[in-house]
Symmetry: D2
Subunit: 277 residues, 4 copies
């Protein structure tokens, strides 16, 4: 395992951190170097150093050699679009039951933040199928996954998913699209019975439209949730929440695929109406 390595080796994805906690993720290549206003560090000098070590640039500045967390990897993705934040990624994994060996479908690919988290978690025994209409977006995501050493776990498909997915027994499927309600039939066809559906949408108007559509179809256990992450300043004698926080990334919706075509709570009148509460 890369993670278990004690010392940095060529080919490793490493993270350099300055004293003021700026972070830089690079792949160590023979003859290469890391160059910033802190100065230069030659990769030939980095290889063989223990992780956690303090390095010095040619200007005498300190840099620490670390391995990136999944959070670090996601925050450093090259991006052309809004990404799904780490706070949401972890929860999505837990809610969709993603684990080594699972088959997961996502659309659209975007910059590949969720793709990365999925690919890392399903591991070599699982697989991720990532759909996007736009070739340019997928190329960015492909580069991102390759840089993280996870390209092998992903199949990239450029297609309008109105035409359906190739998969038919996926364990989980996630839609990060402006109008997920338009693709629920395709999503159901791609999932195994009982499969996990998830989606993220930024506006309450979309929450309404998707919730309505889920209650009309072969879906059960609809959930709407959102996560707020609060960071703190860590000076020991003056600990306090950050003045500014991310107030909203998106609403998360989840449901399970049923065999029968209708929702157990299809009728909105009468007693069943109160079921989803």
């Amino acid at each position: 395992m890369v993670e278990a390595a004690q010392t940095a080796a060529f080919g490793d994805t490493v993270m350099f951190v300055s004293k003021d906690r700026n972070t830089y993720i690079r792949v160590l290549e023979p003859g290469g170097q890391f160059q910033t206003h802190y100065g230069v560090v030659r990769y030939d000098d980095v290889a063989g150093q223990p992780y956690g070590a303090r390095l010095q640039t040619h200007l005498g500045k300190d840099l620490w050699l670390l391995t990136p967390s999944t959070d670090d990897l996601v925050r450093h993705l090259r991006r052309e679009s809004q990404i799904i934040y780490p706070k949401d990624l972890g929860y999505i994994l837990i809610k969709l039951g993603v684990r080594p060996g699972a088959t997961v479908v996502e659309a659209g690919t975007g910059s590949g933040a969720l793709t990365l988290a999925l690919a890392m978690t399903v591991g070599e025994t699982g697989h991720v199928y990532s759909y996007d209409r736009r070739a340019d977006m997928q190329h960015i995501a492909q580069a991102n996954l390759a840089a993280a050493g996870l390209a092998g776990q992903v199949t990239w498909i450029q297609r309008d998913i109105l035409d359906g997915f190739d998969a038919h027994n996926a364990d989980a499927l996630f839609l990060d699209l402006p109008n997920p309600w338009d693709y629920l039939e395709q999503a159901r066809a791609a999932l195994r019975g009982g499969g996990f559906f998830g989606s993220i949408v930024p506006t309450i108007n979309q929450v309404e439209a998707l919730t309505e559509a889920l209650y009309r179809g072969p879906w059960f256990m609809v959930e709407i949730e959102e996560l707020l992450l609060r960071g703190y300043k860590t000076i020991p004698q003056r600990i306090r929440p950050d003045e500014q926080m991310v107030g909203h990334t998106g609403y998360l919706l989840f449901a399970r695929a049923l065999v029968e075509p209708t929702s157990p709570v299809a009728s909105r009148e009468g007693k069943e109406n109160i079921v989803p509460d």
Copy 2:
């Protein structure tokens, strides 16, 4: 993969869900049965059914046959103590870079919620070492992990961790204890260089004590964070946040293990003082 199965088989961990969304997790055993006030379902009739199917009890009540998510598994753990909530579990995995193949240490075991999430994610190529002083607690966690089919990924150790951990090159280590600051030396010894440290504490007094201790030692990139999960009622024409929410589970603290014995921001006076901001 268990997850990819289309139909329920003996030995599967399944979830029965009633129309009003009560959930029950069981392992299907030949000759067994599921019995509640909804009526009885015989496991011999369940085996072979597709996941996502509607079953009927002998009283004619509907039950849906699903596979549990990680979230479901955690919520149904038999517990003798407060568990780490799914919202925090997912984020911990992301922050500690837990992935298939990783070696992770935790103390204390508690009821095994984090153990379960870790074991599921490290997979068969990784391993979890779980420490607790109390045999009774570990027995509960062991039973919980066995029921989830994850016992093979965990080694259980009953010991006061003041005496140290056995591991020496762990990728990540998590402390869920009242006084994590007392075990930082042992934690450092168990982690590889650059390894990921995490902890959860409920009070601000503990946040202060742990933050101070981390800044004194060979740790870097101290972070304090907390997650708030907001659930919504899902009746399509009356969508609204739940009136009651969990207002606090715990503060999450993270740091990275360094090779040198002191923190880059050890001095609290002068310019370095403002670094952690």
Copy 3:
């Protein structure tokens, strides 16, 4: 001023507090008594006591004699319906510019929580007009305001406000109704130019409907906001947020009444579309 009194007098609205912080609000009347499981305190013995004093019941239990805050008064209202919470009341006062001398209209009355906060703030030089269709609800609110000594500041009107308000130059108007969008014309007619409009609704569906209606009419500066109040346990050595908190009371919407009949951002297409951001 009642508030400035040093000692309790007959006619005062007082608050008794037990050691475990149970609170009881009563009006001191000659010959009366306060009776709970803590024992009996005779009002004749309370009159003349300084506020902040410790009393003893006939069972020897301690009770503290305090004056209620606005928060205390609201929390102790007799209620038949959901009230607007103190966290929202204070903000509404600030957003509607409510001050001594102001004329404020509200509908519906409900149990009178907002009525109380408004009546207390406009004082003897201002006035509150409170509308409700239901006589039974208004009787509860009237009793609540009378108990707080604020009945003189309020005029009660039982009417369907589809028929309009009597007021024509109100400084502020607040709607706490299921369908506030149906009464915007009446609301505009009751307000002075530039007058402050506010409303509280629990669901996102209502937020959408009201926002749309406000953008169609003579309103400007539409705002949608919500407040989350987090309480903490106060044991000095174990300070922590409460495990349970109120996750939602309602969305607050605000706007200002214009003279011209249309909103400055009536058009949704083109450049103006992005104005409300």
Copy 4:
């Protein structure tokens, strides 16, 4: 009442608002003018206009003529220091029972945000005593209150409050200082029995220190709370929470002044220990 005026008059504090919702607060003076990049509006043309009217600058740009809310006034204060935010101001008023006629003490003055909210609420029959050591800060606050027409309700005192307050029967007292625990004796001496104490502090270290001090002294009903305000984008077809929000302003602490010198929960051991929960 100024608020009830239908048309703008010289001497009025008015608010000009542009189509893109920039806001400007000015006092109308004969011969004066409002000049921005939107163009010029002469006050002689504004006087006599109805509030809520649309004005036009000499460049033909629209401006709306409104009256400022308390929220608007606070947001436009000239400031040299962090102010207490409107979300907190409203709640402080409710928790301290501030109403027309009340006598309230505050220290330090800062830029006068709380001074303004207090002065507006106590009205002409109440009074605010505002203490600050720094003359320069008080001069800013004085100018701010004068601009809002509230100078008459406030007495300004430049003093180190370690030397005590002049007041002895204040209804409420608020400390906005780095070390409020150092002034609790002085605060108690300034308050009437049962009087309301409040304070705001940004760090958890200060929360701990102040809570400890309150439990040692003649205080009861200690509360620690914080308010989170979430704003929404209001485009009707794309309503969503703002991406960025203020994550922290300060922790609010409240207590009541007792006659006896000790707290009812002075002992931290034994049964009383759990009382404040």
